[in-house]
């Protein structure tokens, strides 16, 4: 019954000018239609994107340093348009880590570049893990600041180096 009504309302939508979009851009797609078995599969996919990010200073990955960990990735309730909402928490190695903002930026850019469908990202420092976490959280979730940061050649280079895939 419910599916009947949802089909009915879909048919009523009247937008003749809408271009045909590839299936993955269809936002009513469920996780299954996007190619994931379930929420856990999406979570693991995100974790796989992030685990290989290199630390800006040390010769290790964020996974090695436990900055990124699987339990820090949450699949939240999707938007009304069924876009998956993902929250990533990370744990800077020291509470005054000066590179915490850069790491947040790397996490966002790596997911945006790797994922093949629209997604909403909320990136936060693990609660209590940084002395200025509120400040950093606000900055790394401000899309305008992120866009501007990625146009800064020095910052962009730093990000590119951290997220580049190993040969």
């Amino acid at each position: 019954m419910i599916s009947f009504f949802s089909k009915l309302s879909l048919n009523k939508q009247n937008s003749p000018l809408e271009h045909a979009k590839p299936a993955y851009m269809d936002k009513s797609a469920t996780l299954q239609e996007l190619g994931y078995k379930d929420e856990n599969d999406l979570k693991e996919t995100i974790y796989d994107f992030l685990r290989t990010i290199r630390d800006p200073e040390k010769p290790s990955t964020l996974e090695d340093l436990k900055v990124i960990y699987e339990e820090g990735i949450f699949v939240n309730e999707p938007t009304a348009d069924k876009v998956p909402v993902i929250r990533v928490e990370y744990n800077p190695t020291v509470p005054h880590c000066s590179l915490a903002t850069l790491i947040g930026l790397c996490i966002r850019i790596k997911i945006q570049r790797s994922i093949h469908h629209p997604v909403k990202l909320d990136i936060y420092i693990k609660k209590g893990a940084h002395t200025t976490e509120d400040e950093i959280n606000k900055q790394i979730n401000d899309k305008e600041r992120i866009a501007a940061a990625m146009e800064n050649p020095n910052l962009r280079n730093l990000v590119e180096n951290c997220i580049a895939e190993e040969e």
Partner: protein
């Protein structure tokens, strides 16, 4: 005298929303494609027959109607080195200002027959986030990440003089907007506040005359109503707030002290938006309020008929799901008041909508 929304008003508004949703229809008229990457902003020419758009691709595109279709007529390149964040037509329609992350604001005109950049305003230390012309067209305001708001005076042909540098905010300033008829300026900031400024007639000094504090996070944008006595603001805190000006002779008994007026938040629309609200547009003809949200949805609100001036109620009249495939960055009503609405998005598209009640 309280200006807070009463429990009764909230309940009335809740009941209304239960039964009166989707009374406004938003129908897609055209998708305008041509930009590469994020489209940050669009601006209607004051005559409503030309659209300027800008974005991540560092170009400005000018669109006008060919038959029934809007098409690109001019592309302005080489004006900026980085993202163009906002474009604004002057009230006379002869000038276009563009604000960029490259720290400059460019002024374009077509005195030579085609659009050229004939003046560049420099002074901000880094990204310029917003630019707006005063209603007279004699003043221009800009703001940016350097926390400052600049007021520029049009001093002559291609000449702009800095009138004031206002450092009232303590963070990134996101948006500037002028009162619809007076030289009163408002700015929205990452410091969660809105500030208002005007020139002191005694010493010609621009000063901050009001601080509007109520949002819990970045205020992304703001829009005056047609009287200029009310302001709508939208925020990263997922709410929209309506503010009212109380002048010193107000009948409600709001204490104004030695100022000309105070601004109070008289309505908060919460529970509607599920992510950051990036832009808000208040139509000066119809009174409809449109919002652009990070959940890819465009919403339309309308003040209810029995709305109390001191505790107004607004009904959600339309929720346009899938308005875009990514964040909606900007919404603009056609100044002609013909209920045409423009929107643009991270998805690279500009969409033109026809609104009907």
């Amino acid at each position: 005298m309280t200006v807070k929304t009463s429990r009764g008003a909230l309940w009335r508004s809740f009941r209304r929303n239960q039964f009166k949703t989707e009374m406004v229809n938003l129908e897609l008229s055209q998708i305008l494609t041509g930009h590469k990457g994020i489209v940050w902003n669009v601006s209607w020419h004051p005559q409503g027959n030309v659209i300027a758009s800008c974005g991540e691709d560092k170009t400005i595109k000018l669109w006008s109607k060919e038959g029934v279709q809007w098409t690109i007529k001019t592309v302005l390149v080489d004006g900026h080195q980085r993202t163009i964040r906002e474009v604004a037509w002057s009230p006379c329609g002869n000038f276009l200002a563009s604000a960029s992350f490259d720290a400059t604001t460019a002024i374009w005109d077509k005195k030579s027959g085609q659009f050229e950049c004939n003046a560049t305003l420099e002074g901000h230390e880094n990204e310029v986030k917003s630019v707006a012309w005063s209603p007279s067209g004699q003043l221009l305001a800009t703001c940016g990440r350097d926390k400052s708001v600049w007021v520029w005076e049009v001093a002559g042909d291609d000449e702009y003089e800095c009138e004031a540098v206002l450092n009232a905010h303590n963070q990134d300033v996101k948006k500037v907007a002028w009162h619809p008829s007076l030289d009163v300026l408002a700015s929205a900031s990452y410091d969660n506040t809105v500030k208002m400024y005007k020139e002191d007639s005694a010493d010609n000094d621009w000063t901050c005359v009001a601080t509007l504090q109520s949002h819990d996070s970045t205020v992304w944008s703001l829009a005056f109503d047609n009287t200029g006595e009310r302001l709508a603001t939208c925020s990263d805190d997922k709410t929209v707030k309506i503010w009212k000006e109380y002048k010193s002779d107000n009948q409600e008994g709001v204490i104004v002290n030695d100022k000309e007026s105070v601004w109070k938040c008289v309505c908060t629309l919460s529970g509607y938006h599920t992510r950051s609200v990036y832009d808000i547009a208040w139509c000066h003809k119809t009174g409809l309020i449109a919002t652009a949200c990070g959940d890819d949805i465009i919403r339309i609100f309308k003040e209810s008929e029995d709305s109390d001036l001191n505790a107004p109620t607004f009904d959600l009249m339309c929720t346009k799901l899938n308005a875009h495939t990514q964040d909606v960055n900007c919404v603009k009503w056609n100044p002609l008041g013909n209920q045409e609405l423009l929107s643009c998005s991270d998805d690279g598209e500009i969409r033109l909508w026809k609104c009907s009640e």
